[in-house]
């Protein structure tokens, strides 16, 4: 039987595994609260955006996500993300002090482009689903589910996150706050 593992196919599989490893490592760093190491995975010009969702008609279904210049849940640059990390590290951020228990599950990962290996400075876009589970104090529990559209780039051989769009499947946010990263 003829092998389907063409060089192009192998390049795709290699990059796919690298992307999966990147996301799983990132989830571990967040859930283990290694925030400084997590920040190192982001480019200096990273855009970290979590738009809101609206109840719209089928005819207007593509308008159910708020636009980039509209109010969102988050729309951070790296400086703001650093501030969020520093705030947690003060030990005075009562919304996450005592610390919450958080698990990130990342699944349905797809490379949307390109399908072959990624050279330095090049970008690839990915789609995935997330479940972010938060439990704090005794019984406070949130399950936040949705899609993520990420842009990854290669800097000095290493993958970095250049852009993240987090599409939460809630219109009224059912969690009282968003102290966690996605």
């Amino acid at each position: 039987m003829e092998s389907h593992l063409t060089p192009e196919r192998l390049g795709y599989l290699d990059l796919m595994r690298e992307v999966e490893d990147f996301f799983y490592n990132e989830a571990d760093l967040l859930d283990e609260r290694e925030y400084d190491q997590w920040l190192d995975l982001l480019t200096e010009d990273v855009v970290y955006w979590m738009p809101m969702r609206k109840n719209v008609s089928y005819a207007n279904r593509h308008e159910d996500i708020t636009a980039e210049n509209d109010v969102a849940w988050f729309h951070d640059d790296k400086d703001t993300l650093r501030k969020r990390v520093k705030q947690i590290q003060t030990g005075l951020h009562w919304a996450d002090e005592p610390v919450s228990r958080v698990s990130h599950l990342i699944t349905n990962i797809r490379l949307t482009q390109p399908l072959a290996g990624l050279g330095d400075g090049a970008r690839t876009t990915t789609k995935c689903r997330f479940i972010v589970y938060r439990n704090r104090l005794e019984s406070e529990t949130d399950f936040l589910l949705g899609r993520r559209e990420d842009t990854l780039t290669r800097v000095h051989g290493e993958l970095k996150l250049a852009r993240r769009k987090i599409i939460l499947d809630q219109s009224v946010l059912l969690a009282k706050n968003l102290t966690m990263f996605f």
């Binding site: 008609s57 210049n69 009562w94």
Partner: protein, 442 residues
């Protein structure tokens, strides 16, 4: 849980500054306040910039109930209960949009944007004799007001006009909701509404923004990380002398008075924004003269509308959705003529300050949530809350109306005035009595 007292005023002793925890956690009291407060008071609905064109609508809330804010095809603004006259289904299930009619999905009764019933399924055959459709339109509020673009309504035809209801607290809107230069340019909403659930009684939130400056200490973490737009210290930029003002209508405002002779070097992190606001400050000096530096920081209009009038500039409604849960709706506003770069700079600052992703507000929600939870127990309810700061200190101010207490005196006079008024709504049956109590209290 049954109420333990027949009079709400027995639970709210503002003379000694003690307020029973029952008013926050008791289900019977909550059921009563839905009727006695939320079906009588003026409530904030939305902003006229959300319904600019004929046929535009925005679905809002009044207390627990869904309402539709709409501009009809003659250009008139209405607020309707979002419930079909036939069998109660929500006639509008989109958050906002533009429409010719509201058509109920259930049996297809159809209403014009002015609330008139125009379509009934099988009207000719099913109803003999025909019923009078003009009597079966959407339920409309009794009174509606537009104050500087903010839309308000009440279900009570006997309520005083909105301007009378607002009373002297209107000074806060006149100096806080206007364009930042104090001129006639006006303000508008900056985009969509943040809506989120918080497990606490709605009054924790209303009270917080009525001018609880003692809780500032809970925000130390964002002061330490320099959240403010200047990139200097603190979570905000400098704002000058602080004072609180209370009103017998139940409203409370925390003001700051910035010295007119000083320049304001805010928003230094964005040169374009900094320049814009410096020019605004020069024009504000010209427009408002001695009052240029006088602006509310935060305030609450009784019962559940709150606002921040300096940066971040926002409007908030704390919609009760049960005794133990509130749905917060926060919108942000900017000068209508603000350049795009200024809007975007402010938008980013607003989002990192307020809302569920906001680094400041996140800690507020934690406090309200667990203050409420830890007040619900049998033993906890036996001990009233303590509101004694600044008892008997209120005076007057040379230019700002209301009962005023200035720094360095810390005062909880605003929450006391809020709960005094709340108890009057709970105990008094008529607007005549409510207006008398208001006069007696001021």
């Amino acid at each position: 849980m049954r109420r333990t007292s027949s009079s709400a005023r027995d639970l709210v002793d503002t003379a000694v500054g003690e307020i029973s925890r029952e008013i926050f956690v008791n289900e019977d009291i909550y059921a009563e306040e839905k009727v006695r407060v939320f079906s009588r008071a003026w409530l904030y609905i939305g902003h006229e910039s959300q319904i600019k064109n004929r046929g535009d609508y925005f679905v809002s809330r009044m207390g627990e109930e869904s309402v539709i804010l709409t501009r009809d095809h003659a250009g008139k603004i209405h607020v309707f209960l979002n419930s079909c006259a036939h069998r109660g289904m929500r006639v509008c299930r989109y958050d906002e949009g533009n429409t010719n009619v509201f058509r109920c999905p259930y049996h297809s009764w159809t209403y014009k944007t002015d609330g008139t019933l125009i379509g009934v399924q099988d009207y000719e055959n099913a109803y003999q004799p025909p019923f009078d459709k003009s009597k079966w339109g959407l339920i409309e509020v009794a009174q509606l007001a537009n104050y500087m673009g903010t839309i308000w309504a009440t279900w009570d035809k006997d309520a005083p006009s909105f301007e009378e209801y607002l009373g002297e607290a209107r000074f806060a809107f006149d100096h806080g909701l206007c364009a930042w230069d104090g001129g006639d340019g006006g303000t508008e909403l900056l985009g969509s509404v943040q809506k989120w659930k918080v497990p606490c009684n709605w009054k924790f939130i209303a009270e917080n923004f009525a001018g609880d400056w003692l809780h500032g200490v809970s925000h130390r973490s964002v002061d330490l990380v320099r959240l403010g737009p200047s990139g200097k210290t603190g979570r905000r930029d400098d704002f000058g002398q602080l004072l609180v003002t209370a009103y017998s209508q139940g409203h409370g405002v925390l003001y700051s008075v910035y010295p007119n002779e000083e320049t304001r070097t805010e928003y230094a992190a964005s040169p374009v924004t900094s320049e814009y606001f410096q020019k605004c400050w020069e024009r504000r000096l010209a427009n408002k003269g001695e009052l240029a530096g006088t602006c509310p920081l935060v305030g609450t209009i009784f019962p559940n509308m709150s606002f921040h009038a300096q940066q971040p500039r926002t409007l908030l409604v704390s919609h009760p959705t049960g005794p133990n849960e509130t749905e917060m709706w926060r919108t942000y506003f900017v000068d209508k003529d603000a350049p795009e770069e200024v809007r975007q700079f402010l938008r980013e600052y607003y989002m990192r300050y307020s809302g569920p992703g906001g680094m400041t507000e996140q800690d507020d929600m934690e406090n309200w949530n667990y203050a409420h939870a830890a007040s619900s127990g049998t033993i906890a309810r036996r001990r009233p809350y303590h509101y004694k700061a600044g008892l008997g200190t209120g005076g007057t101010h040379r230019s700002i109306p209301g009962v005023v207490t200035e720094r360095p005196i810390t005062s909880e006079q605003n929450p006391r005035a809020f709960y005094k008024r709340w108890a009057e709504y709970m105990d008094l049956d008529s607007w005549g009595e409510l207006l008398n109590a208001q006069t007696a209290g001021s």
